[in-house]
């Protein structure tokens, strides 16, 4: 059978075996089709005109593509980035900011590879990263602090302070029994938890330890939320998370710390003291080594759109968004 015959056969049914359709049914079908078509066209035109008016409002019709920003990186910075993006987009119609996680390391490498516009990191870039991506520029937008938490089954007496030396021994040797409290007032720790992935939180905590070593045998969990959930689910465990995640969380207790002879009691590990410490960096209110910056990182100097958003993140109006997440805006301490 040749192609012409096949095509003829294919369409043969269109004029063979046809039957008359009731005029009423045909009219009804036509009415339905007309209404559906009108509704569809109306919706499409409405969407199109609102899109055009939104873009006209921004006055950036010439370069619509530059109104998109992709932020990725630190899971600590992610929630505040989302709130900042939302507030910024409310004020700037036509701008689209998308936020992703990944961790501080991923944030720095992604921006270095130019696959995201702004990298987020809850630490400063390390030397190897700066060597690999020499063009990256750091913009400090806020600060936060790492706190030590324990499950409710851990017995804590008085100030509940643990010595930094104990933490060092416990995390270096994976030896929970080393946690006894500076004055023997903490007991019952049977498990230690760490972060599973490269993170600014872990980096800050590691640097605080005397030997800057965390035993590979310690179970890791993903994200601040992972460590928090692990400690919440294991009453006799101990871990470290960002203050924003620990503040107000159930089934955990924040521990005080004795560092270099200076006591930071559990009752004073709160937003006021942490903010004062970020402001003064004098070790009077909290362990300075456990505070850390929240950074946005760009590949080279930011373009005008990125700069506008970063400026917004560093403005006094952004403070409420940082506070909502338990962090501190740059304007609160710089």
């Amino acid at each position: 059978m040749n192609i012409g015959t096949r095509i003829k056969n294919l369409f043969a049914g269109m004029w063979e075996n046809t039957r008359a359709v009731s005029p009423i049914v045909a009219t009804l079908v036509l009415v339905v089709v007309a209404i559906t078509g009108a509704a569809a066209v109306g919706t499409i035109m409405g969407t199109f005109s609102s899109d055009v008016s939104e873009q006209s409002n921004t006055g950036e019709l010439a370069s619509a593509s530059s109104t998109e920003i992709l932020i990725a990186g630190s899971t600590t910075v992610q929630p505040v980035s989302e709130l900042l993006a939302e507030a910024y987009m409310d004020e700037h119609q036509g701008v689209k900011i998308t936020v992703q996680g990944g961790g501080s390391g991923a944030g720095i490498s992604s921006v270095g590879l130019d696959i995201v516009d702004i990298g987020a990191a809850s630490r400063n870039p390390k030397d190897p990263e700066l060597e690999k991506y020499p063009n990256i520029v750091t913009h400090k937008i806020g600060g936060s602090a790492v706190v030590v938490i324990a499950g409710t089954g851990v017995t804590v007496v008085g100030d509940g302070d643990i010595d930094s030396g104990e933490l060092n021994t416990a995390y270096e040797d994976n030896d929970p029994s080393a946690i006894t409290g500076a004055a023997g007032n903490v007991s019952g720790v049977s498990t230690l938890y760490d972060r599973a992935e490269e993170s600014g939180t872990e980096d800050t905590f590691r640097k605080f330890l005397d030997n800057k070593t965390i035993n590979d045998g310690i179970t890791g969990h993903t994200g601040n939320a992972g460590v928090l959930a692990a400690v919440q689910g294991d009453a006799t465990s101990l871990g470290f998370v960002d203050f924003g995640f620990a503040d107000g969380a159930s089934d955990i207790q924040i521990l005080g710390i004795l560092d270099d002879g200076k006591l930071y009691p559990a009752a004073e590990v709160d937003a006021d003291h942490l903010e004062d410490e970020l402001k003064n960096e004098d070790g009077e209110n909290y362990v300075t080594a456990l505070t850390r910056p929240l950074n946005y990182i760009t590949n080279g100097e930011p373009n005008s759109m990125e700069q506008a958003f970063i400026t917004f993140a560093m403005s006094p109006g952004a403070t409420t968004h940082f506070e909502e997440c338990g962090y501190f805006a740059i304007t609160q301490f710089a």
Partner: protein, 297 residues
């Protein structure tokens, strides 16, 4: 009761218990997810994208749309490749060392952890091919998921082709049909039920995948848009939405509720999980209904 009857009854009881445990586990999981999801399950939650809700969470329309796009597009891309490969291996290729090696490689691909494919996607599709894919995008996610589910559908198609009775095909040849006619009118329609099963498994695998998706499609709080805008650095100087734009997915939404427990209610995550199950069920049912009538045998 003799020993053989006793043995039979024991294993019958074990089978019943195993089936009961499986069923109870399934009911338990689905029941718990449904109960936990109830506080968040509302029409507003389902039809509102996260970008339209203040704060984090609050809507999953962006993730539902993303999951539908990713799973349907990747299955649509993988199925012709998988069925074509299966037909080639079973009906055209001469059995030999090369065919066996090819089959072995497909098994290796099927067993490759999804994170490996995710990293490959991140480096190749998101980074090196950024000028085509647009970086993190629907197209990058679709291609990576296609590679992931291709062996699943291919193996199912091979198994299905094995069940086609040779007598039927021989009868076809006896009537003067060519090899292509036989494959098109006998082999594939007869094997359609098995191919369909592979497609359904593929859709489920694509919809549930999170590692590959987050590394290739990324995540977005916005609904997919359908438009074309000028964009420097991309092929043809334009960005085609939604293909070259970021895409959300339900598994990532589920994970985000765990990631930020102090900002997103846990019921949001359970509701997203519940919807994911429903979406996969609906896609499965629709696929079966669409293709069921084309089968023979």
């Amino acid at each position: 009761m003799n020993e053989r009857t006793l043995e039979g009854n024991i294993f019958k009881a074990i089978s019943y218990i195993a089936a009961a445990i499986t069923l109870l586990a399934l009911i338990g999981i689905l029941g718990r997810i449904t109960l936990e999801a109830l506080p968040s399950l509302s029409l507003y939650f389902l039809i509102t994208p996260e970008s339209n809700v203040p704060g984090l969470g609050g809507g999953i329309a962006n993730a539902i749309a993303g999951t539908l796009l990713l799973s349907l597009l990747s299955t649509a891309l993988a199925t012709p490749l998988a069925v074509g490969t299966a037909v080639y291996l079973k009906r055209y290729a001469k059995p030999g060392i090369l065919v066996r090696a090819f089959g072995f490689l497909l098994d290796v691909l099927a067993g490759t952890p999804s994170i490996v494919l995710g990293i490959f996607g991140l480096l190749f599709l998101v980074y090196y091919m950024k000028f085509v894919t647009g970086g993190f995008s629907l197209i990058a996610g679709t291609i990576a998921l296609t590679i992931l589910i291709l062996p699943v559908i291919e193996r199912a198609a091979e198994g299905a082709i094995d069940t086609v009775p040779l007598e039927l095909e021989e009868a076809s040849y006896a009537l003067g049909a060519s090899k292509w006619d036989t494959v098109r009118r006998i082999t594939v329609p007869f094997a359609l039920t098995g191919i369909l099963t592979g497609m359904v498994l593929g859709i489920g695998r694509a919809a549930e995948e999170s590692a590959v998706v987050i590394l290739t499609a990324g995540y977005t709080q916005f609904l997919p848009e359908f438009k074309v805008l000028p964009r420097e650095g991309l092929i043809f100087g334009m960005k085609i939405y939604p293909f070259q734009d970021l895409t959300a997915a339900l598994p990532i939404t589920v994970y985000r509720s765990f990631e930020f427990p102090h900002l997103i209610p846990a019921s949001n995550g359970f509701a997203a999980a519940f919807v994911l199950i429903v979406v996969v069920m609906l896609i499965n049912a629709a696929t079966r209904m669409l293709l069921w009538r084309s089968r023979i045998g």
